[in-house]
Amino acid sequence: MARYSAADVSWFLVAGLDVVGTLTEFEDNREARTEETHTLGDSWAEESFVGVRQGEITQQGFYDDAVGSVHDVLSSGPGTTNILSYCLEGTATGKNFVGWAGGVQVSYQRQAVRDALTKAKATYKGAGPIEQGKVLFPYKAAGSSFGKPSVDGLVSSTGGAGYLQYNASAGECNVRILHSSDDAAFATLFTFTKISSGHGAERLTTTGVIERYTAANFTTASATGAIAALNAFVGLVRTSSAP
């Protein structure tokens, strides 16, 4: 068992943009929807789970209108749904990450106060699964190389989801998730939509077998040459599991 702090949160990704540098706190809440099921004759209230879970994130920090920063991300909402990804337990390859298949931005507040820097605050509500997976490639400059270190996990026969978040200034790049039973011969598990300049995120799912070893793979698209300044995160969820 280990304890963690804010220093272990190295990025908070919304549609490929990292806003952690402006945040001072965020909370992720998950709760189960219930219905009161006590009846006449009961002397205690009774709640029963109705089979639906929901999540909400509140983020708070400094207002920053730089390109790619928090205002850039949030000003297009509320109402916008984005893929969200973050880690609470460190961000190295193989660490746990949390992926939101969809987070609807329901509010964006800017707050100017006397004798203080202007703050920004936003809230998201879940629009789809909230999952925990393993980091295959932490959010950083990807470069172009054949493969990254592989991550050893348990074989899953019921599928899972692959996450990609990226921000690139120019060029094109192909990103895949590979899997292998012996850490020697790998095949493609997921092929994400080819990245071009700009930022974005994608979540792909499979219901098939995911082998024991998995890795992220970046190759430049030859038509346009190497991608410039690509920052990317790749993660894998084995079966849909709540964090």
């Binding site: 190389s145 054949f146 493969g147 990254k148 270190p149 592989s150 895949r176 590979l178 039973s181 012996d182 020697a184 011969a185 790998f186 095949a187 493609t188 092929t191 077998v209 082998e211 890795a215 793979n217």
Partner: protein
């Protein structure tokens, strides 16, 4: 060496005998330093698979035997 048909997309593996010997000895080598071959697509015929991987790949239906060569 025997020839196999690839049944999955993007099959790739190390082909350098020195790398394979180091891996067989239990050495952990990052993917990027294994000299992996260019990915093969469905239907490609290959004859340079790592010997230790062939059984597992066959069982997983990632490859199928096309021509067996007894050496």
């Amino acid at each position: 060496m025997s020839r196999y048909r690839v049944l999955v997309d993007g099959l790739t593996y190390p082909t350098d005998p020195r790398i394979l010997r180091r891996m067989a000895a239990g050495e952990q080598i990052p993917l990027g330093k294994r000299g992996m071959c260019e990915p093969h697509g469905v239907g490609d015929i290959v004859d340079d698979l790592p010997p230790a991987s062939i059984k597992g790949l066959t069982l997983a239906r990632w490859i199928e035997l096309v021509e067996e060569v007894i050496e």
